[in-house]
Amino acid sequence: MSTWDSLLLGLSFALQPQVLIYCVLGVLLGSFVGVLPGIGAMAAISLLLPLTFYMSPEAALIMLAGVYYGAQYGGAVASILLRLPGTPQSAVTTLDGYPLTQQGRAGLALFTAMISSFTGAMIGIVVLVMLAGWLSALATRFGAADYAMMMIFGLVAASTIGATRPVKGFAMIALGVLLGCIGTDVNSGAQRFTFGQTELLDGLNLVALAMGLFGVAEVIANIRNPERQKTAARISLRSLLPTRDDLRRIPLPILRGGALGSFFGALPGTGSTLSAFLAYATERRLSRQPERFGKGAVEGVAGPEAGNNAAAITAFTPTLTLGIPGDPIMALMLGALIIHGIQPGPMMLEARPEMFWGLVASFGIGNLLLILLNLPLIGIWIAMLRIPFNYLYPAIIVFLCLGVYSVRGLTFDIVLVAGIGLAGYLMTLAKFSPALLLLGFVLGPLIETNLRRALLIARGDPMVFLERPISAGFVFASVILLMLPLWRLRRRKARAYEDSI
C-alpha cells in the first residue's frame, strides 16, 4: 500500500462521525486543561482513561492523543499571558512571550504562538508520514553514549539563553542539575538527598518545580509590585494584529523550529524539551539582533512553539511503530490499548494500519480544529487579564495546587511548591533565569545516568564517546559551539589591533 493510499484509509477512518467526535472532544479538553496552570495532559488523560474502556481502541487513542497535542496549544496561553508554564518546553515560551504581554502585545504573542503551533504540527505530520520508518529506526540506533552527548550538546547550546549574563545562566543550569540529583540513583540504587523522605525517592516533582519557580514566584512579584498589574488595561484589539515587520520575522523560525522538533521529537525521552530550547537558542544565534531576545522577540515565541508541537507529533513514532513509549503520557496511552487487549509492539503498524493512519489523519484534523478554535479565542484569553488581580491570583494559586496534587496525590508536593515559589521569587529579584534551572533539572539526571551507563556498558572505556558516530558528532558540535565565542573574540582583537596600526 502506498503512503497516499494509507493516508486516504486513515482519513476515511478519522472522518467517521463517531471517531471525529472523540477527536473534537480530545482537542477541546486538551486545550482547556493546557490553559489551566499546572493541570496538564497527564492529569486529563489519567481521568479519561476509565472512559476509554467503553470506546473502540482506535477512537480512544485518537481522543487521548488529541488531549496530548491540544494541551500544547493551551500551555502557550498560560505561559504568554501569566508566565505560568506547565512544562519545561512551554517555559521557553515565557522568555519572550511574557515580555510581549507586559508591553501590551499579548495578542501578537498569542497569534504567533497559535500559527507557529499549527505550522509546526503540520511539519511534524509531513515528516512523520514521509519518514516514519527512518524515524523509528532512530530510536534503536541511539545508545546511552549518544544520548549523553546529545544532551550535553543541548545544555551547551542552550546555556546562555534567557540569562542576562552567561555566568548566571550557568549557575542556574548547575543548580538545576543538583536539584535533579535528588532521589534514587538509577545506576547504584543509592538514595541521594532524600533525608529519609519516601516522597523524595523519585526526585522532586517536575510540575511542582515548574509551578513554584514560575507561577508562585510571579504571583508574589505581582502582589509586591502593583505597577505590573496595569498591563492589562493597555491591551487593545489592534495590538492583536501583527505588523508587517512581525510577519516578516515569523516564517523562518517556524520552519527551523518545526524541523528541529520533528527530529528530536522522535527520540524517546526528552525530545520535546530539547527541541524547544534548541529552537530558541538557534533563533537567538541566527538573529542579527540577539539583544532583542528575552525582551519580547516574536522569533523567540515562534521557534520553540513550532518545535514543541512538531515534537509532540513525531513523538508518536517510536510509540506506535515500536511500542516504545517516549514519555509517561505516551506510556499511559499505550496502557489504554493494553486494556483493549492490543499489545503495543513493532507489529502494531502491520496488524492495525487503520489505527496508525487513522491517528495520523486525526493529527491533521485535530490541529485544524485547534487553530480554528484558538484564533477566535485569543480575545477571550486576553480578557482574562482584565479580571481584577485580587480574584485572578487566588484562583491561579488554587489551580496550581490542584495541578501539582493531581500528579501524585501527595500534600507533600503542595508544601514543596510553596517553598520553591519563595526561592523562585528571590531568583526573579536577582534576575536569574528559572527556565535554565528547569532545563538543567530535566537533562542533568539523564546525562548522568546515560554517561555512567555508557561507561558501564563499555567496561569503563571513555573512548566509547568518540567511537560511536552519533556521539562523536555531538561531541564535535559541542566543542565547536564552545570555541565559537573564543574565535570571535580573537577576530575582534585582531581587528582592533589592525585598526590601531
Binding site: I45, S46, L49, P50, F53, A139, T140, R141, F142, G143, A144, T184, V186, N187, S188, G189, Q191, T194, G196, T198, E199, L201, D202, P268, L322, G323, I324, P325, P328, A331, L332, M333, L334, G335, A336, I338, I339, G341, Q343, P344, G345, P346, M347, M348, R408, G409, L410, R453, L456, I457, R459
Partner: protein, 325 residues
C-alpha cells in the same frame, strides 16, 4: 460564627457516618471503596487492578475508586493506603516488591509488612522471559550459558532498576547457572528493549508481554521462562527450571495482590476474598489478564501470607549475594 459551627457539625457527622459501617458489617459496604494503587494510571498494575475493581463494584453495589499514588516502586501507594486506613472501605493492590524486598532496598518504608498489612488474596502472577537480540545468534539457553560463561561479565543484561524483579531474577539465574553477568540498570522495559534491539546490551529478563511482540517481529529471541510450568501467553517458550543444568525448582515470579490495612474486620476480608476469588474464576477475566501477561492466582489470605514469607526469604538471599559482590 454560626456558620462555622454548622460546618463543623456537618463535617463531624460526615466523618462519623464514614467510620460507623466498619463496626456494622451487615450493611458493608455502605460507601464507595477506595483502592490505592502505587503505580500511575495506565501502568500494568493499574490496568490489572481496574479489571478486578470494575467487576467488584458490580458485585458490591458500590463504586470502587482507584487512587493512583505512584512512586518509590509502589511503596508510596501502600503508605497512602495506611494513612487513610480505619474506615473499612480503604484497600490497595500491590506488586511483590513492597511486600518482599522494599524493606531491604530502602532506608525506611514507613510500614512493617507483617504488622501493618492484612493480605486478602494474590490476584495474578507473571513470570519473566530471558530475551536476547535475534542478531546475537543465540537461540537457546545452552548457548546463552556457554556465551555468558566464557569469562566473567562477558555478557551484560538490562533490568528495570536496582533491586527490581528483573534484576534479582537475573542474579538468581546467574548464581544457579554459575555465571557472572554485568548488570545495567534502566528505568523501564521500553528502555531495556530498545537497548537489546540496538545491540547495546546483550540480554534481559523481561515481562513476557514486553518481549513477545518483538519475537513476533523477528528482532528478539526468548530463551526461557521463569515459571514452573509453560505460560499460557507464550506456551512455546521452554521453562528454565530443569533445563541447561539449572535446578528443577528454579522459579521466579512477580505477583500482584489485593491487600487491606491491618485491623480491617475479618468478615470484610473474608467477603472480599470470596468475591475476588470468584471474579478471577471468570474465564473472560482470565483471558483478559493473560493478554496483559498475568496468570490469575487466587488463594486464601493465609496462602498469600506464606507466599510473602517465602519470597522475602528467597529474594533476601539473592540481595545478600548481590551486596556481597
Amino acid at each position: 460564627m454560626k456558620r462555622t459551627t454548622t460546618l463543623r457539625l456537618a463535617l463531624a457527622s460526615a466523618v462519623c457516618s464514614l467510620a460507623l459501617p466498619a463496626s456494622a458489617q451487615n450493611d458493608w459496604p455502605s460507601a464507595p471503596l477506595r483502592v490505592f494503587v502505587g503505580f500511575p494510571a495506565g501502568s500494568s498494575p493499574d490496568v490489572l487492578a481496574r479489571v478486578v475493581t470494575d467487576k467488584l463494584s458490580e458485585r458490591l453495589g458500590q463504586p470502587v475508586v482507584i487512587e493512583n499514588r505512584p512512586g518509590a516502586g509502589g511503596v508510596i501507594g501502600i503508605q497512602q493506603m495506611l494513612v487513610s486506613a480505619g474506615d473499612g472501605h480503604t484497600f490497595g493492590t500491590t506488586i511483590n516488591g513492597p511486600m518482599t524486598t522494599a524493606q531491604r532496598m530502602m532506608d525506611d518504608t514507613g510500614f512493617d509488612v507483617a504488622e501493618d498489612i492484612a493480605p486478602i488474596t494474590l490476584l495474578a502472577t507473571s513470570p519473566l522471559v530471558l530475551a536476547v537480540a535475534s542478531e546475537s545468534g543465540i537461540e537457546d539457553l545452552e548457548s546463552f550459558i556457554a556465551a555468558a560463561g566464557a569469562e566473567a561479565d562477558a555478557l551484560s543484561y538490562g533490568s528495570v532498576g536496582q533491586g527490581s524483579g528483573a534484576h534479582l531474577t537475573a542474579e538468581l539465574f546467574a548464581a544457579e547457572a554459575g555465571l557472572s553477568m554485568l548488570h545495567i540498570p534502566f528505568t523501564s522495559y521500553a528502555e531495556v528493549t530498545t537497548s537489546i534491539i540496538g545491540g547495546e546490551i546483550d540480554a534481559g529478563f523481561m515481562a513476557p508481554s514486553a518481549a513477545l511482540s518483538f519475537v513476533e517481529a523477528g528482532t528478539m529471541n526468548v530463551l526461557g521462562i521463569t515459571s514452573a510450568e509453560p505460560f499460557g501467553q507464550a506456551p512455546d517458550v521452554p521453562v528454565i527450571a530443569g533445563s541447561a543444568g539449572l535446578p528443577d525448582d528454579f522459579r521466579a515470579e512477580l505477583w500482584n495482590a489485593f491487600i487491606a490495612p491491618a485491623g480491617t474486620d475479618e468478615a470484610i476480608i473474608a467477603r472480599l476474598n470470596a468475591e475476588i476469588t470468584d471474579i478471577l474464576e471468570d474465564p473472560e477475566v482470565q483471558e483478559q489478564m493473560l493478554g496483559m501477561g498475568w496468570q490469575v492466582a487466587p488463594g486464601t489470605p493465609e496462602a498469600m501470607a506464606e507466599r510473602i514469607a517465602a519470597d522475602t526469604e528467597m529474594w533476601g538471599a539473592v540481595i545478600d549475594r548481590v551486596e556481597a559482590q
